[in-house]
Symmetry: C2
Subunit: 458 residues, 2 copies
């Protein structure tokens, strides 16, 4: 009998062509003109789910002007077998040749070991890896686990609806294990598994002084300039070590033990190389007692995302402005609570705002707690073995500095969640000339098959 | 025989109507569509100079697209009499009803004691005061001094050409005394004479860190955020007292003696009221050892005119930006040199820029030294007596915080320069509902006549 891996190998050429077919549908969710393309991609995917062997493949409409979910289900493993929820997104970022594309962005182009196209890595690589892993199992005797494959069509335009859908229809998505398939591994030769993501809270800090914009000649020297006052406030938010000075900021932070830090030391080798390649600032910055991987993954931050005040056009204008504003966000780690952190910052700002100006801190969105998946769960261990077999190397466990809000959502419907990325950081997701190594698709399919087999065998 | 003052009084009604006639010409120099109006105003003025008794009245063309000077001359006082150069500008700021005008901006409207119109105070009040003072003298036996009345048509749009004209044709404008007639006095009941203006040097401070904009999740905590670094640098430019910390910044500053500070204490009474009315910040700010008038007039400043970096639109974007920029200007007092001050700041910034970022300071324009006219010159004393007689109160001497670059230019062609303003700070120059008290025009004419008589009698 043919094994799923043999099936995948025998059908590799067809899988690759179908991957290209999906890429050619410009399913750009951020541009209303492309709504029909997103719809077309959803229909293509539902049809291919059915062909793959899913029992049902449903296009779930979202509110007018938004983009559908596609949900495929297969319950052939029976009520005693575990259920696995697989998530990917099939929408893509916009792309035009003028952004610096060497080849047409929606015509997948092979060059040497790579394939170039918008969506190549983010995230049609993942969509096709999971879909074809399911097909390979379903066409060779069935899957050892029940399957729910959910594909989102608006991840690149705010994921407005999926969280509400999961909250309202949690029973339909209930699973023992969930794999969010998106993102990157450390290096083509070194797979990795993210077991922690930072949370976030975003805010605006407004500082105002005089009743109106003033002439800097007529009032300069007698009024605390709001830009200067804002700068003076910002300068008090970190100490010389880069540690956040807001009292209580670190109180809820769970420290890493020696074992975990030893793990992170391995991941840091790649992180440092990546830092030099991408960030390439004159020197690294931040808390000296943590390596770069830890500063980004293990430690919370208080970051300035924007600042504006006064006249910023060409030339100069001798204005002493009425106000200035900074956009601030904190990346949070477990167990920091977004609302508590906001309150701590607000209290501290009230203390350090001088009597010569007024300040106001505004919360931008509800914020999100850090998601900790743990590197010892059954799902995570199954994923590690899957990469070892499918990718060819034991993965390193890493902490990610970013936030994937859907993680938190899926933790509500699945007992254990893992994140399985097959991209590389050089894949230029969101940028021009987005690309994958062609082997990624086939390694991705293999790894995804092994994951389903591993969780099925437990 | 009729005195000039009697003539002015007898013709008050006509002068006021002619002032309104000039206001009705919307001589907006900043809007190319209004170039014909500026030209029409110039022609109106040349014609009225001739009618007033000037021997010559010349429209001096400026480069294509720019606006003419009008120069009237009368040399009837003879070669032994002093020559007085009078300067005003006849162009105005734009004005549209939508900005909040209660009456049509170019239809002068009397309401109670006031007259509302664009240009009412800035600066057709001054143009007509000087022109009608000259007429009153020339039509009643002649002026005791030779007269050169120069009117500029692009003061509101950068004064691009007058400085070059003065430099190239200094001989034509050579004078013993020069009165720049523009600006405001402390209060309708308290005239004042500005005897010092601050200079200026403007610059941009650029701070950059990483090679590109970064994702604040993926790199936050490991890269010195350029907005934060810029804020930390700005926060080191003043101490807690508001004193500039740049080494050497105050080395060239000439201290005021006790007499001068006693004068300034008088002016400060009005300055403090004005500060509360216009600036109205939660508290005054600045060097505790100086009063508000001194902080603005006697002391140099380092002011933030603008700041920008990262994402500043609605919502938030989790960017860790590549760079940030601040616009900075220094108001200078005698004897600070703009280039030296720039160099001092540049040196200091190089010292305090941390090794985690790069900084660059860029000079925006050549800058200008402070203009010190002195309050003891013959011209200034003549102006003081003129206000006392024409306005009805002995003026207070004051220092102005702003810069009038033309002052420095006229110091090259005239032995002594004074600034004679007839406006009030509540006159809303540049704003909607610009206005004067109607008595200002007649007091202005009288004061201008007295000034010419006083310098003629010396």
């Amino acid at each position: 009998m043919t094994t799923p891996h043999e099936y995948a190998q025998a059908n590799a050429e067809r899988f690759r062509e179908q991957y290209k077919e999906l890429i050619r549908i410009p399913s750009i969710s951020t541009l209303p003109d492309h709504a029909p393309d997103v719809q077309r991609a959803a229909e293509w995917l539902a049809e291919h789910m059915r062909q793959a062997g899913f029992e049902t493949a449903e296009i779930i409409k979202m509110p007018e002007g938004r983009h559908p979910l596609v949900l495929g289900q297969w319950n052939g493993a029976g009520p005693d077998a575990p259920t696995v929820l697989l998530y990917c997104h099939y929408d893509v970022q916009p792309a035009v040749v003028e952004d610096g594309w060497v080849t047409p962005p929606f015509e997948p182009t092979e060059k040497g070991e790579r394939l170039y196209a918008r969506g190549a890595v983010d995230s049609k690589l993942h969509v096709m890896s999971q879909l074809k892993a399911c097909e390979s199992l379903l066409q060779t005797g069935g899957s050892p686990v029940n399957l729910k494959l959910i594909l989102e069509g608006e991840e690149e335009s705010g994921s407005e609806n999926i969280n509400a859908f999961v909250d309202a229809h949690g029973d339909r998505l209930r699973a023992d294990y969930c794999a969010i398939s998106d993102g990157t591994i450390l290096d083509p030769a070194q797979p990795s598994l993210v077991y922690a993501l930072r949370g976030i809270i975003a805010m605006e800090l407004h500082v105002s002084g005089p009743a109106q914009d003033l002439h800097s000649g007529h009032y300069g020297g007698s009024v605390h300039n709001p830009i200067q006052a804002l700068a003076e406030i910002i300068a008090q938010l970190h100490d010389a070590n880069g540690t956040v000075t807001v009292p209580g900021f670190y109180d809820a932070v769970i420290a890493a033990d020696a074992d975990e830090r030893a793990q992170l030391a391995k991941a840091n080798e790649w992180t440092e190389r990546e830092w030099q390649r991408v960030a390439h600032a004159p020197q690294p910055w931040g808390e000296a007692e943590y390596n770069i991987h830890e500063r980004v993954g293990l430690r919370p931050t208080l970051e300035l995302n924007g600042i504006t005040g006064g006249f910023t056009g060409p030339g100069f204008k001798t204005v002493l402005p009425q106000k200035a504003m900074a956009k601030i966000s904190c990346r949070l780690v477990a167990d920091q609570d977004p609302d508590e952190i906001f309150d701590l910052i607000q209290t501290y700002l009230a203390q350090i705002t001088p009597p010569t100006v007024r300040s106001e801190l505004i919360k931008m969105e509800p914020g999100a707690k850090a998601a900790v998946l743990g590197h010892t769960s059954r799902a995570m261990q199954a994923a590690a073995r899957a990469y070892e077999q499918g990718w060819g190397a034991r993965p390193i466990f890493e902490r990610a500095g970013g936030s994937i809000p859907i993680t938190y959502t899926f933790q509500k419907v699945a007992d254990e969640v893992v994140i399985m990325g097959f991209g590389y950081k050089s894949g230029q997701a969101h940028g021009p000339n987005e690309n994958i190594y062609l082997h990624s698709l086939h390694r991705g399919i293999d790894t995804a098959i092994y994951f389903l087999q591993e969780v099925g065998a437990q």
